[in-house]
Amino acid sequence: MNFAHNSSIKAPTPPDKGSFPLDHDKECNDAMGDYLKCLQQNNSQSRYCVEFTKAYLKCRMDNGLMAKEEMENFGFDEIKKATIVDAPKINPNEPIIAGLRKRGTNN
């Protein structure tokens, strides 16, 4: 695969921790069900369902379906330090004038 000339297209990289083993015995389906319910209730915002995520990962680790990891390593606590702002509004009808800075940038 020759992606070297177009650096914006990256070749697919393998996952950091590899592949999840398959849950044939459906041991963690309940935990996943809880997480999905939480997502539906919270307008699909993942930051309100961190506890369910942790519960699911713990279920996986306990049943030998995932390598054991400290919860801190996933960075669940780091996200609390961030400030959440609104996304910058970009008017899609704004014309692009050649030579000027791109729309959507603040510089």
Partner: protein, 285 residues
């Protein structure tokens, strides 16, 4: 009484023949140029009337202006002189042949060793290349990591949420039903997010499939880090079995700083399941 003309011819012949009196050569029958080649090996006479004479041009050892007369014994032993010449010629010949032969032998040895060397190098290159790939991981070689260092992301910054949409598809005529469990999730960059897909094997036989993924827009792909997923590995689903396939991923916070992406807010993750070519070993788990 020799006329002046023939005298001149004789002296010229004397000089051209290297000062040797060889009455066996007749003046007219012998080719003078031929005699140059034959007799030049033994000619040490260099001085002639002109600095650049045919003599010095045709001689093998070029020592111009050197006066070194070789006089065969000025007697009537011309036959002996001739045989002596021939013997010297022969030994000279032999010596030269021997030198050439030695040179040929050494060249042949050199060529042979280089051929053997290159062949050996090409055979040795296979394990060497394997070692090189294993150490550097060039070209995506799988490397074993015993202790993985966890990337600490600096999240003390402003973030705004992105929407990640999930799509699923099947290809290569795999008889599975494959869909995401949630259509989209609002994600903060830097946060580890869990997503889930569900695959159902609708047939009576266990089938092995392989999944691959794609991120749209393309430029956002470099900021999408999968912690753990079910891609690139052969996954086997038993007959009439439905499986939960989770994905744990992080969107890097640097995506918000990238000017090329220009305030992007939507990313799509699409998974495609292919039927694996290797449907072989069907073992009971």
């Amino acid at each position: 009484m020799i006329s002046r003309f023939t005298k001149q011819i004789l002296t010229n012949h004397y000089i051209l023949n290297g000062g040797k009196l060889s009455y066996s050569n007749s003046i007219y029958s012998r080719n003078l140029i031929g005699s140059f080649n034959n007799n030049n090996k033994n000619i040490h006479l260099k001085s002639t009337s002109t600095p650049l004479s045919l003599h010095t041009l045709y001689s093998n050892n070029n020592e111009p202006f050197q006066i070194n007369r070789y006089f065969s014994s000025n007697s009537s032993n011309n036959n002996n002189n001739n045989s002596q010449e021939e013997k010297n010629n022969q030994s000279y010949e032999q010596e030269r042949k021997q030198r050439v032969h030695e040179k040929n032998k050494s060249t042949a040895m050199w060529v042979l060793t280089s051929i053997v060397g290159i062949l050996g190098l090409s055979y040795a290159a296979v394990p060497l290349y394997r070692v090189f790939c294993r150490v550097t991981g060039y070209g995506g070689t799988v490397r074993e990591e015993t202790d993985q260092e966890h990337k600490k992301r600096n999240l003390e910054r402003k973030l705004y949420p992105l929407t990640v949409t999930f799509t699923a598809s099947t290809a290569n005529k795999i008889p599975w039903t494959f869909k995401p469990s949630q259509s989209s999730i609002e994600v903060l960059p830097g946060e580890a997010v869990l997503a889930s897909y569900r695959a159902t094997n609708n047939t009576d036989k266990p089938i092995i499939g392989v999944a691959t993924y794609n991120i749209t827009p393309m430029k956002a792909g470099s900021y999408f880090t999968k912690i753990q997923c079910f891609c690139f590995d052969e996954q086997r689903i038993n007959a009439h079995e439905s499986l939960e396939l989770p994905v744990l991923f992080v969107v890097e916070p640097e995506i918000l700083d990238d000017k090329n992406l220009g305030g992007i807010t939507d990313i799509t993750l699409s998974y495609t399941f292919f039927k694996s070519n290797d449907q072989g070993e069907l073992e009971e788990i």
